[in-house]
């Protein structure tokens, strides 16, 4: 039986009060709840405070470059689709530096769970605006406030018909655990955008700010995440009320792995590695004669 102890990693380097602590705990609890062993899990991360999470979560880890979370995660999943692959990124990492990969990962619908630590600010570089910073958010680089419109990852994901789109909040840990478990169980690309306070650099979107606004979509039992029109509406709620939960699902989209002939029976990594059969290869050479 896998326990939380199995997923305990090294000492953390995050600031006190950081939302990352709850997020790490939620990931650990989710994996334990799913009965996954650490060797069955691969976490791939980018750079930033979020990118450090895999170092504190004992499992296979590929800590990649800034913004390059999804491509290596995709390559690793295609090479061994028996692995549970978590892509762990920050808002700057995934929606700024790696924005193009985010769009194309949705298109591929590869069976990866993307967890984005979305604190609407750059932490590691000390407080600049991120792609999801609210308009007007003032920083040392944007002293008069951000004039760009914020990137709405949920709305983009719904627009691209992503097969699983969810938003969580670190102030609702148990709810977040459930979302992550659902995302991992989902066959296909799953986005879990996680709102979290950054006590060091985001004095606007604080714990209290989020707490006041978030509400759970599944409370009341009327919301149907398969309803895309409703999902578009929920994806646009922000200023006074922010929905958390599964915002959209489309389980009908086939996954990338299901459609690739080479891995129809076994993972790519399980093929014998002695190279191709000699006589078969020589027949191939005949095509050039």
């Amino acid at each position: 039986m896998v326990t939380l102890k199995d997923y305990a990693g090294g000492p953390t380097a995050w600031c006190p009060g950081c939302g990352n602590f709850m997020l790490l705990r939620a990931v650990q609890e989710a994996l334990v709840g799913l009965g996954k062993e650490p060797h069955e899990v691969l976490s791939v991360s980018g750079i930033g405070q979020a990118g450090k999470l895999p170092h504190y979560l004992r499992c296979n880890t590929f800590n990649s470059l800034h913004g390059r979370t999804l491509p290596p995660a995709t390559g690793a999943k295609l090479a061994n689709h028996e692995l549970t692959v978590l892509a762990i990124a920050g808002d700057g990492d995934c929606y700024g530096e790696g924005g193009n990969h985010f769009l194309h990962a949705i298109r591929r619908n590869i069976d990866i769970t993307l967890i984005v630590h979305d604190n609407q600010v750059y932490g590691l570089t000390k407080g600049q605006a991120s792609p999801t910073s609210d308009t007007g958010f003032a920083t040392k680089i944007q002293p008069e406030g951000v004039i760009l419109a914020p990137f709405n990852p949920i709305l983009v994901a719904v627009a691209m018909n992503a097969s699983f789109v969810a938003r969580g909040f670190t102030g609702e840990k148990d709810h977040l655990v459930g979302l992550i478990q659902e995302a991992v169980r989902h066959k296909g690309f799953a986005l879990v955008d996680v709102l979290q306070p950054c006590p060091s650099f985001n004095k606007l979107n604080t714990f209290a700010w989020y707490k006041e606004r978030v509400y759970k979509l599944d409370e009341g039992g009327k919301y149907d995440p398969a309803d895309r029109a409703a999902a578009f509406q929920k994806a646009q709620e922000w200023d006074s009320k922010i929905p958390i939960g599964v915002i959209y699902t489309n389980p009908k989209r086939p996954t990338m792995e299901e459609q690739i002939h080479a891995i129809r029976e076994a993972p790519l990594v399980k093929f014998a590695t002695g190279g191709p059969d000699r006589s078969r290869f020589e027949r191939l050479l005949e095509e050039f004669v």
Binding site: L42, L65, R68, T74, L78, A79, V269, L285
Partner: protein, 566 residues
């Protein structure tokens, strides 16, 4: 010895390459040796493109100046290439379509009309191919056989093409053949291969057990992924078109980390984007093979032409220091074996290996005897198997060892976790800022270069030992330099070639010795500054006598090299 050049010119979309390729197959099947080049513009239709092939009874490696038969599918081809004709050479053109002033070299063959009479006026190119063979007095049947192979059993397409070719053949047999000074006959029916650089690189990857290719299309590298994508289903490999080159290389790195042989291919512009990925592979000690098919830069440069201006870029690409190997095959045959070696080196030393190509290598065709797959062995280095539990006890992905190579396990092995990081990391793979550990890890990674250097083959030599003139090159200039040596020797000069097809770690000792043995040394490079000359100076302390450079986007001819020796 007969040595014949046929050039086919026209607008993009007129099918020059098909004519060239068809004829190249005909001659190769007849036991002759062919070398063919493609010169095209970055456009889908229009412009001026040509394909040229050279035929000889012994192996050919380059395209000297001059043309014996010019097949002009438009007027511009006549205007541009008429001056290249050897005395007695013939221009085949369709006088019913193209109006030019009469000239003794012009031979009007009604390509469209003969094709129409054969069943379809679209098959004028087959008429032209037949006409060329008719002039040469070469047997017709091999052409019919190749056309049937190319067009298969699609309705009457094959037979209509054969009819068209026959009409062209009969036409020049009656008109022009008797005056044409060069005749060719099939030599034997030995089954040789006709293969382009890109195809050979792709086959090399397949033979090496490459299972994963992620790439973004970019001329002149695209042919590699195109070939492998066509074989993906049959050979159980994954070929993924990435959204950009950053994704292409980092996706391949992810696949390699998870345990499969993985590669990407691009040109210099795409490699610019891959540079951070190269460093990622170096830092995380993940094997990766990158084909860099150069074209003239900087920026978009000349997208469809050739150049060798990325050598220093590739040697230094990425910030920070880490071991790498750089191979630079000179022919399609070398390209095949270079790929197999690249995958072995990448896995043995857990570091990036770059195979340098360029448009000249990528798109040119060579006749070769065969590719010997039995010469390829697969060495996955210190890859631990999941059942080797004693090796997995207390597993540390980046264990510090004497050779610098840390035994590699894969994510998914029961009982262990595999951790790596683009940050400096400890032996387990977790990030560290311990300065002492940083030093030890750097030294560990750099120690791999000692083993890697011993794997690099010495340069290849051709011609006279202790020559008066030593011509030095790397990559695709192999053929032109070799034939320049032949020409110099025929003139009574003691000439030799030193060719580096494995360029980094630099074989300093062998290069220094060769430089000392020659009276004069010239580098021959398709770039403007002599990058190999600088590298030689840096690594051996020796300067070359001179540099023969070309950077107009076109490959060297042997004559151009000879003229550069001063």
């Amino acid at each position: 010895m007969l040595d014949l050049k046929i050039k086919i010119g026209g607008e993009a979309g007129q099918g020059m390459q098909t004519v060239s390729h068809t004829l190249a197959h005909v001659f190769t099947r007849g036991g002759l040796h062919v070398f063919a080049i493609q010169d095209y513009q970055s456009r889908i239709r229009g412009g001026h493109n040509f394909s040229a092939l050279r035929i000889r009874e012994s192996p050919v490696f380059s395209m000297p100046r001059g043309v014996n038969i010019l097949i002009a599918l438009n007027k511009e081809t006549i205007d541009l290439h008429r001056g290249e004709l050897h005395e007695g050479g013939v221009i085949i053109y369709d006088g019913e379509k193209v109006k030019v002033e009469a000239h003794q070299n012009l031979l009007s063959v009604p390509l469209d009309r003969l094709a129409q009479e054969g069943g379809n006026k679209l098959y004028g190119n087959s008429v032209a191919a037949g006409a060329a063979l008719g002039l040469l007095g070469y047997a017709f049947e091999p052409l019919a056989e190749v056309l049937r192979d190319v067009f298969g059993k699609k309705g009457t397409v094959a037979e209509d093409n054969v009819k068209a070719a026959r009409a062209g053949y009969d036409f020049t047999t009656r008109n022009g053949h008797s005056q044409f000074p060069w005749k060719f006959k099939p030599l034997d029916d030995r089954r040789r291969m006709l293969i382009a650089g890109n195809e050979a690189l792709a086959l090399g990857a397949l033979a090496a057990g490459c299972k994963f290719v992620s790439a973004y299309p970019m001329t002149p590298s695209t042919g590699i992924m195109t070939y492998l994508a066509g074989k993906a289903r049959e050979w159980d490999i994954i070929v993924e078109q990435a959204e950009d080159e950053i994704s292409a290389i980092t996706m391949a790195i992810g696949a390699s980390f998870a345990g499969v042989r993985a590669m990407t291919a691009t040109s210099g512009g795409g490699f610019c984007l891959m540079v951070e990925g190269l460093g990622l592979a170096g830092m995380t000690e993940t094997p990766i093979v990158v084909v860099e098919a150069q074209r003239p830069g900087p920026a978009i440069g000349l997208p469809t032409r050739t150049e060798q201006s990325d050598l220093e870029f590739v040697l230094h690409a990425s910030h920070g220091e880490f071991p790498r190997a750089v191979l630079a095959p000179g022919t399609s045959e070398e390209a095949f074996y270079a790929m197999a070696k690249a995958f072995n080196l990448a896995e043995k030393y857990q570091t990036p290996v770059i195979v340098m190509s360029d448009q000249h290598l990528a798109d040119s065709y060579w006749t070769i005897d065969t590719l010997d797959v039995s010469r390829i062995t697969i060495d996955r280095g210190q890859l631990i198997q999941p059942e080797e539990t004693e090796k997995l006890a207390g597993y540390k992905r980046h264990a510090i060892t004497h050779s610098g190579i840390s035994p590699r396990a894969l994510p998914g092995y029961p009982g262990i976790t595999v951790v790596t990081d683009s940050d400096e990391h400890d032996e387990e793979g977790h990030l560290t800022e311990d300065t002492g550990l940083r030093t030890r890890m750097m030294l560990k990674r750099m120690r791999k270069e000692i083993g890697l250097a011993q794997e690099i083959s010495p340069p290849k030599f051709y011609g006279t030992a202790n020559p008066e003139v030593l011509l030095i090159g790397w990559g695709s200039t192999y053929g032109a330099i070799r034939e320049a040596v032949d020409l110099l020797q025929a003139q009574g000069q003691k000439a030799g070639m030193m060719h580096l097809s494995e360029i980094w770690p630099f074989p300093s000792g062998a290069v220094a010795t060769a430089l000392e043995s020659a009276r004069a040394c010239f580098v021959v490079e398709n770039n403007a500054t002599g990058q190999l000359a600088r590298l030689i100076r840096r690594e051996t302390g020796k300067a070359v006598t001179g540099k023969i450079l070309k950077f107009d986007g076109l490959p060297f001819s042997p004559e151009y090299i000879m003229e550069g020796i001063k």
